[in-house]
């Protein structure tokens, strides 16, 4: 059916490949780094927005619960009055910050990308495999999570009326501090590829709100002994492992056993990353 008479003489036989990527040993790795550079550039351009979005929730939480409450005689205490509420809240707020950052920096932009702007198309055309573009999203989100915690930490340490008593175990802090932002960013990737723009408000009501309220942020998971069904049910919540992890790393309060925390972090991170990578590929390739 196809009828081709002849191919006109080419104006010039262009060399098939001409850019510097041909001379680079790992062009995909260079592209990956450049994608991170691009994200860093956007972050510095939007630094004030980033700061405000990062600080507002932790500041409000800490201010109301650990400054206003004790000051007006409405103090909350934990472990039968043995521990101040700020000691409970500090690891919880740091965990929430990392998780929310994953949603803010990975999920929400992706939802817009897939839903309206299709900006992602250009990054998909960068010379690296599609899965690597998705992994870059996780890495960039995790780095933002770390930056966010650096910003938030002074607030949670200084705002409470009663001094926060920290008991840092550096090994756990390093391990949890590296794993937690990846869990947050992977969850962000999974949500970002599964949720449509119309579903975003619903996502906040149905997923984010229960996750943050039942994520062992306002209470230690060990104290849920009193409500056994809930203690079991919240184990599907990734935030529980982040909160308990930071509780273990930052305070001397009882926490979930370390093995369970690390297993939870790895499992939640691995599962959400797998869903995210699958979802990303599904949204990008036809």
């Amino acid at each position: 059916m196809t009828a081709v008479a002849e191919t006109p003489s080419p104006a010039r036989a262009a060399a098939p490949a001409r850019g510097p990527a041909e001379a680079v040993r790992w062009p995909a790795l260079v592209a990956f780094g450049a994608l991170l550079l691009r994200d860093a550039r956007v972050l510095t351009r939007e630094r004030w927005r980033f700061l405000i979005r990062t600080v507002s929730q932790p500041l409000m939480l800490v201010f109301v619960f650990t400054y206003v409450f004790p000051t007006i005689g409405q103090e909350l205490r934990a472990f039968d009055g043995q521990a101040s509420f700020s000691d409970i809240l500090v690891p919880g707020v740091i965990a929430i910050t990392m998780l929310i950052k994953g949603v803010q920096s990975v999920a929400l932009p992706l939802v817009d990308d897939f839903g309206y702007t299709r900006e992602i198309e250009d990054r998909i055309m960068a010379p690296l495999p599609v899965w690597a573009v998705a992994v870059e999203k996780i890495v960039a989100g995790a780095l933002q999570g770390l930056v966010a915690v650096v910003v938030v930490f002074p607030i949670v340490a200084l705002v409470p009326a009663e001094p926060v008593s920290l008991d840092i175990s550096w090994g756990h802090l390093l391990a949890v501090g590296l794993l937690a932002p990846f869990v947050g960013a992977s969850l962000g990737l999974a949500l970002g590829t599964l949720v449509t723009p119309k579903q975003v408000p619903m996502m906040f009501s149905v997923i984010i709100l229960p996750v943050t309220f039942l994520g062992a942020t306002y209470f230690p998971w060990t104290q849920l002994e009193a409500i056994p069904w809930l203690q079991w049910a919240v184990l599907i919540n990734p935030l529980v492992y982040l909160s308990e992890g930071f509780r273990m790393a930052l305070t001397s309060l009882p926490s979930m056993p370390p093995a369970a925390i690390y297993a939870g972090l790895l499992l939640c991170g691995g599962l959400t990353a797998a869903i995210g990578l699958w979802g990303f590929r599904r949204r990008v390739l036809a």
């Binding site: 008479a5 002849e6 191919t7 080419p10 592209a31 994608l35 010379p127 690296l128």
Partner: protein, 349 residues
């Protein structure tokens, strides 16, 4: 890589190679597809066994109505759509087996604005080059050069939201060219542009091609394909119906001239009745020199070997038959006519 083994049905590939006898210097095709097919999960056969060959330096057009499969072909050639069957190579790279490598040799201008809204005009180019391993200085220099070439220097520091449609389209093309791709793809590049911007874009694309850039564009505007392309593949329902130079395609339409004849209605506002048109068609079809005539869009269309001396004969015949003629226009066959003769339908529905 110079000679692709030609399976049955790879007519275009073989023909393309045959055009360059084995003199050792035959250029490898820039694009070569063999029986390229895409069936979507819905069951839609968007592209059905397409064989295409595009030579280096060529300006190639895929012309067809919406839904013909043009965008799906571009999607497959640019690694975004996974073929159900068949093979595709761009600049010698198998796009299915080596997508990341294929992306290095292609530049893509998609249908919608996919500029990075978080970055300035200059940064859109700069970071794109960085993706392709350009160093910081190299990327900066190339960005400035392309901003200049695409008349965007004034806008270099604004966010892309502030660009007009024409400017955004120019920036998308500049971005696609940042990494010096061997093959430039444009999917319906002039849709939504005002006529002035469209002409400007045509000039720009022609210049790029004159400078040696191989280009493949899809369009449903036949004037666009006619004006720009060295060769055009006419597509419908996932098939390539014909692929050749616009002039050659038009020659396949069995007429040198098409005369459209309008008949007067019974009053100023009333169009001629179908009976009237049918009678006029019969009269005109019998005029010597007219090969055939048909009623189309309230007019009679006469396909003739030549317009020379034909018009007076048409007028006389219509007067003698008592039907009369109210208007008469002569045109050469266009790609539209080619499409109609191939499919029996208008290009634009």
């Amino acid at each position: 890589m110079t000679t692709t083994p030609a399976p049955a049905g790879a007519a275009a590939a073989t023909a393309g190679d045959a055009a360059h006898p084995a003199d050792g210097g035959a250029p490898a095709p820039m694009i070569a597809t063999e029986a390229l097919t895409k069936v979507f999960p819905s069951g839609l056969r968007a592209v059905d066994g397409v064989d295409l060959t595009v030579a280096p330096g060529e300006f190639f057009g895929l012309l067809g109505p919406n839904g013909a499969g043009k965008t799906t072909i571009i999607g497959m050639l640019t690694t975004r759509v996974q073929p159900t069957a068949g093979r595709a190579r761009v600049a010698g790279v198998d796009v299915v087996a080596q997508p990341a490598r294929a992306k290095r040799v292609i530049g893509v201008v998609p249908q919608t604005n996919t500029l990075d809204r978080s970055l300035s005009v200059r940064e859109n180019l700069h970071y794109h080059a960085r993706f392709f391993a350009y160093g910081r200085r190299q990327a900066a220099e190339r960005a400035e050069a392309l901003l200049e070439q695409f008349r965007l220097t004034d806008k270099r520091d604004v966010l892309v939201d502030e660009l007009s449609g024409g400017m955004a389209q120019r920036l998308m093309i500049a971005r696609a060219l940042m990494h010096e791709p061997a093959m430039l793809f444009l999917d319906e590049p002039t849709v939504g542009l005002d006529p002035q911007s469209r002409i400007a874009l045509w000039e720009l694309l022609s210049e790029l091609n004159e400078d040696g850039q191989t280009v493949l564009l899809t369009t449903h505007y036949m004037e666009e394909a006619d004006h720009l392309c060295d060769r055009v593949a006419i597509m419908d329902h996932g098939h390539v119906l014909a692929a050749d130079s616009p002039a050659e395609l038009k020659r396949t339409v069995d007429a040198e001239a098409i005369v459209r004849v309008a008949a007067p209605g019974r009053s100023e506002v009333e169009p001629p009745s179908p009976d009237q048109l049918a009678r006029l068609r019969g009269v005109l079809a019998a005029v010597p020199g007219v090969r055939w005539a048909e009623v189309r869009d309230g007019q009679v269309e006469c396909h003739a070997d030549s317009a020379r001396g034909l018009l007076p004969r048409l007028v006389t015949a219509a007067e003698e038959a008592g039907t009369g003629i109210s208007d008469l226009s002569v045109s050469e066959p266009s790609l539209e006519t080619v499409f109609v003769s191939l499919t029996g339908r208008e290009l634009r529905e």
